[in-house]
């Protein structure tokens, strides 16, 4: 789609040719004069600055019974602040060629700003305004509410979203992780401006904040701008404790009129801080990681042509950990596909990977790490994530050694540990044959009715 971007980028190739070979991902910790910490990679190759930050809490801090507050807030921070109403604020962002993005995750409220170096000070000033004094005028609030309601309504018949929401709701009953991040049609309709303000007041705080900056900016300038932007926020967040919980296992079948059946599978996972986490990460790569050579890819796609894509992943949340995967296949071969997934997960749990598989997986994971650092935006995301995970600033240098040290015995032991129950949960969304002994229930808008099998 971005043809304009494409053509202009090309036009500047001449300029790229004279850029010196100066890139080095050296991460330094900056402590602002006001005492706020940030990680910085100073790099002047491209005259751009990427700022990524996160407030701990995310959608898990939505008020009880009102999912969707953090998400709605994330859509309203660039819709008017200070003395700029929505129109004036957007016009200013446009005039500065600024890109603002806010996003509510399960455990974090994320923000990112991309600016040309020449507009640096104005960019931070605009961010300061949006974080410190969002306006929540009636027109943008109602407009954004209508947009979210429309999306929630649309996704109620999107089989992927239905499967994902059903899995969360079933795995985490009576827990924030079981609620949809976007909210429900009912909850979004009920969110008030006071709810949005209360969330901001509780969560946007200095002790709850991680910051990553990458690009054409030095430490001293960054420190001063960080103070202006984040300094006036509350010193301490008031987070509601989120109980630690293990995902609950169940099988669900949801009837929807699609040509394919969406299959999601999963089980308990391994926490990020667990010493076995990286070993599990390697094992998962062998089972269903993101290349053309995983066991599931080989068995489901290459040998049998049952699906276009299949993958699995570890889901290390702050208060729970899970393992999950998914695929989409012809409805009449869904049973066969589920059978293969189950037997592959069980086989890996029982025997572990082969020495050759382990060596190849390690080689890929070590070699590909550098690809996560090949643009300013990607570097900023990486070094924010490392802070959120509570890892040290030299983690980037140590990470490949951790992978290299995974032994075959480790891999076998950990495969057993987290895959033994790796398919205890199976969710299927698609046409259910009407001849069965019991008919599955037709999915309804937003809260699918499901049958526990």
């Amino acid at each position: 789609m971005p043809l304009i971007v494409a053509r202009l980028g090309l036009a500047l190739l001449g300029l790229l040719l004279i850029v010196p070979a100066s890139y080095a991902a050296k991460i330094e910790q900056v402590v602002s004069p006001g005492g706020i910490k940030a990680w910085l990679v100073e790099d002047h190759a491209v005259p751009v600055i990427a700022l990524n930050f996160a407030f701990g809490g995310g959608a898990a801090q939505d008020p009880a019974g009102k999912p969707g507050v953090a998400n709605m807030l994330s859509a309203l921070l660039d819709e008017g602040a200070g003395n700029l109403d929505s129109e004036a604020f957007q016009a200013r962002l446009d005039a500065l060629s600024l890109s603002f993005n806010f996003d509510a995750g399960r455990d974090q409220f994320y923000g990112s700003v991309k600016t040309l170096a020449e507009n640096r000070d104005e960019a931070f000033a605009m961010l300061a305004l949006s974080l410190q004094s969002p306006r929540f005028d009636k027109e943008p609030v109602e407009r954004i509410r209508a947009q979210i309601e429309s999306r929630v309504k649309r996704s109620s018949t999107d089989p992927d979203t239905v499967a994902m929401l059903a899995m969360c709701a079933s795995a985490y009953p009576n827990h924030p992780y079981g609620q949809p991040v976007d909210g429900t049609e009912a909850s979004v309709a009920a969110i008030s401006v006071d709810d949005l303000k209360a969330y901001r007041d509780r969560i946007f705080a200095r002790d709850n904040l991680k910051i990553a900056i990458v690009g054409a900016i030095d430490a001293k300038t960054a420190g001063a701008l960080i103070d202006k932007t984040f300094g006036p926020l509350a010193a301490r967040a008031e987070r509601t404790p989120v109980p630690d919980v293990a995902p609950k296992m169940a099988n669900l079948d949801i009837d929807m009129p699609n040509p394919q059946t969406i299959i999601r599978f999963g089980g308990p996972g391994i926490p990020r801080h667990d010493p076995d986490f990286m070993t599990a990460y390697v094992v998962n790569h062998i089972l269903g990681g993101g290349t053309f050579s995983s066991r599931l890819y080989e068995e489901v796609r290459e040998k049998r042509g049952l699906a276009y894509t299949i993958s699995s992943t570890l889901v290390p949340l702050e208060s729970s950990s899970a393992f999950a995967g998914g695929t989409a296949t012809r409805a009449d071969r869904a049973d066969e596909t589920v059978g293969i997934i189950k037997s592959e997960v069980a086989r890996l749990a029982k025997d572990g990977p082969t020495a050759e598989e382990l060596a190849k997986a390690k080689s890929y994971l070590i070699g590909s790490y550098a690809l996560r650092f090949d643009s300013s935006m990607k570097i900023a995301r990486q070094i924010l994530g490392i802070q959120i995970d509570g890892l040290p600033i030299d983690y980037v240098e140590k990470r490949n050694a951790i992978i290299a040290n995974v032994t075959l015995d480790d891999a076998r032991r950990v495969a057993k540990r987290f895959l033994a129950n790796g398919t205890d949960m199976i969710v299927r969304v698609g046409p259910v044959p009407k001849s069965g002994p019991e008919e599955a229930v037709q999915a309804e808008a937003t809260v699918p009715l499901v049958k526990h099998l």
Binding site: L8, L306, S368
Partner: protein, 413 residues
Amino acid sequence: MQVVVVPDHRAPIVTSMVWYRIGAADDPIGKSGIAHFLEHLMFKGTAKHPAGEFSSKVSEGGGAENAFTTNDATAFYQTIGKDQLGTVMAFEADRMEGLVLTDAVVLPERDVILEERRMRIDNDPGALLAEAMDAALFQNHHYGIPTIGWEHEMAGLTREDALAQYQRYYTPNNAILVIAGDVTPDEVRRQADVTFGRVPRRSEPGPRQRAKEPPPIAERTVTLHDERVTQPSLSRSYLAPSYPNAAPGEAEALDILADVLGRGPTSRLYRSLVIEQGIANSASAYYSGDGLDYGRFGIFAVPRGDVSLDRLGAAIDAAITDIRDHGITQDELDRAKKRTRAAAIYAQDSQATLARIVGTVMVNGQSLADVQEWPSRIDHVSVADVSAAARKYLDKRRSVTGSLLPAPAENRS
């Protein structure tokens, strides 16, 4: 074989892309999907390297790889540590001449592309409507046939179809190599000489001449009712020229027009329909000028609450009539130019993006120099140019309007 090098020395990584001048719009009648099917089959191994060996090599080196098919081209790429460049070029050159296909690999892969179609298109009523709109917009040109193919034709594609396509089009004189990353033109030339340089030319694909569109005279409307639709939407496409064939400055003016009319929350459509009138949840416009033969100017809007698509369509028509009758302001033009300049700087941040840009342009027969002059051509676009483009191309007779609606009440189960 043309070779283009885009140096980017920020990280010790290279992206290597091979582009073939063969796309879905070249699929023979009755064999829609063959270009895309062959793209998949190119991963099935050669006489020298059995299936999976190339992918294993890339994966062990920590590289990323994939391929894609458009209406005009098929491309294969790897992003990998620079010390691996020679290896991936050797593998890529090998599969340009040594592909081996048996029914044992072809038939399961045909099931894979059928699943891919179900996943991308059939699961999504919006995608089904877009297919129906393309089929109506292009009355003669093959852009009206889906890139992935029609299901009933995909199901009949064979090993022989794929091999015929391969022998005719996968020859070095029909390919372009783009290398972006931490590498010099001399190094690339040296590696290319001992890899692609040794692949003999197998055919002369000849000039790319496809059936042209007759003058569009009839406004068309397409409606899809589907029980899965909970949120109606309205789309419109206008037949437009593309960069390779537009009159000088015309495609640039269409880019500016799309920007002013419908890119982002400060654009005319968003301000008028979403904010001021409050009748839409979203409203946007785009110009797609990448195609070899034609471009497309598009509009998309989602109504707010129970606003009807008729009312939404009338408001879109009013915005278009206004821009046709009164053009844009100098201030709007200046802001659009500024946005494009910023986008260009942001684009420099990704080496894979740069490789893709170069390939997209070169594969359609344009030159690097052509494109390097693009910013100055955009700078020369005037208010009058944009008005002229709006009057000429935002003409309903050139358009298809698509409505996506829930199933009629009587058909609901």
